[in-house]
Amino acid sequence: MRFVVLFLIGLLLTAVHGFAQHRFVLDQSTISFHSDGVIEDIAATNTKVSSIFDASKGEIAYLLNMKDFQFQKKLMQVHFNEKYVESEKYPQAFFEGQIVGFDPTAEGVQQVNAVGKMTIHGVTKDIQFPGTVERKGGTLAMKSNFIIKLQDYAIKVPQIVWQNIAQQVEVTVDFNYRAQ
């Protein structure tokens, strides 16, 4: 009898835990970046980002493959991977942190901050950037816009093409989550 009771309690706890978790996974994602060069603008989009957001704890992580960034100019895409972000050595970029100021019970648009560690090109930096979260039933939309300095992540741009590539890029995040 004691066994059955304990077992049931255990089962119940697991179920409650699962229910209370409010975990969200990405349904549709876009991370794009843009930089204005003197000669030409550089822009690329990655639609294959994976992410999990745990609304109960406000924890978020996302991960992407550098090779999934699509450029209009394919040669630029090859150079980006081969020479600048060195995708063979550092295939992935990721972020791990907290969404601060998010109220999981509220509906509608909320102003939040993401605080955590960003890893690009094998370099991890503590960063913080603002964004919005909009909750509609079982879905959640996250949007953000921030600047990344290439120097912070040891991404070197050769002197000879310095005019071609700006020293910083503007990153746009557009994530659409669904409840897991």
């Binding site: 706890l13 450029f71 090859v78 000879i160």
Partner: protein, 302 residues
């Protein structure tokens, strides 16, 4: 005792999830296959092709140029007074299929190629150890002039065909090696000095020095050349295997290749079967391949 263990076992998922790292979970959903990129910087190694095809919608203009031999002395300005040129265009129909045309000043040859990347080197779930590209080429010799055609000379006699398999592996970001089994058929040859069919095995590679500069090399070994292996029967000019070394310098949409080679020809028909210079006897030609890539079709970034 058993009940306690069972209790904890049922609680295990809870504990595991509480400690679970979100990033670790994402790592499990990593991509299946990773395609190797940039085995070589250009579509040409030194004189011949690499496994690289132009990507879909991109056009490359190639200006290739070989001076005279370095042993020409000051009178010939160490070869700089003489020049052999190939002007060419390569276009990527898809990422794996390219077409190219060109005009060579030496022997006035028009050439055309179709190049197809059949297998790509990749790691991960569907890994494959090397890249395989098939190349088919036609070379049409405009020389001799129509009025000077020998008796019985036909249109078809101006043609030669090249079939090549290009196999390359990028061993590391720095080192790529390539093998090039080659078959060349010339419709018309001087039977006393040459056969119609030529077989050669090419070997080449690249060593990246910095991310924008690389050293390249290429050697074509002719398999079973005829006993009477000369270019002109009367003058007894021997044929040599073609050998070349290069430095690739890449800046944005340009690739500059500085080369040293023993041939003045820039198409397989001639540089594999009609190389005149002995590399180790000073018959070295300085040359350049300069390419510029244009993106004609913008790809949809979505």
């Amino acid at each position: 005792m058993i009940t306690r263990i069972l209790f904890f076992v049922t609680l295990l998922p809870l504990l595991a999830q509480a400690q679970g790292d979100l990033l670790d979970e994402l790592n499990k959903t990593k991509p299946e296959t990773d395609y190797t990129i940039a085995t070589f910087k250009g579509t040409r190694l030194v004189n011949g092709h690499t496994i690289e095809t132009k990507q879909g919608g991109t056009l490359e203009f190639i200006f290739a140029h070989r001076f005279g031999p370095l042993d020409g002395g000051l009178y010939e300005m160490f070869g700089l007074d003489e020049a052999f040129v190939r002007l060419g265009l390569d276009y990527g129909i898809t990422d794996n299929l390219s077409v190219s045309i060109g005009r060579n000043s030496s022997d006035k040859i028009m050439d055309g190629y179709l190049k197809y990347k059949a297998l790509s080197q990749r790691t991960g779930k569907n890994s494959f150890p090397f890249t395989l590209t098939a190349l088919g080429g036609v070379a049409y010799s405009i020389s001799p002039k129509r009025d000077n055609e020998p008796e019985g000379f036909e249109m078809a006699d101006r043609l030669a065909y090249t079939t090549q398999l290009l196999l390359a592996r990028k061993f590391s970001p720095r080192l790529s090696l390539q093998l090039m089994p080659t078959f060349i058929h010339k419709n018309a040859v001087s039977k006393t000095a040459e056969r119609n069919d030529h077989v050669a095995l090419g070997i080449g590679g690249r060593l990246k020095l910095t991310r924008s500069v690389a050293l390249t090399t290429e050697y074509y070994y002719r398999i079973d050349p005829p006993d009477n292996d000369v270019l002109e029967a009367q003058e007894l000019l021997p044929r040599y295997n073609s050998l070349g070394f290069g430095v690739d310098i890449e800046t944005g949409g340009h690739v500059f290749q500085l080369v040293l080679t023993n041939t003045t020809s820039l198409t397989e028909r001639t540089f594999i079967t009609q190389t005149q210079g002995d590399f180790f006897d000073g018959k070295i030609h300085l040359g350049f391949n300069v390419t510029r890539t244009f993106q004609l079709k913008k790809q949809d970034r979505r």
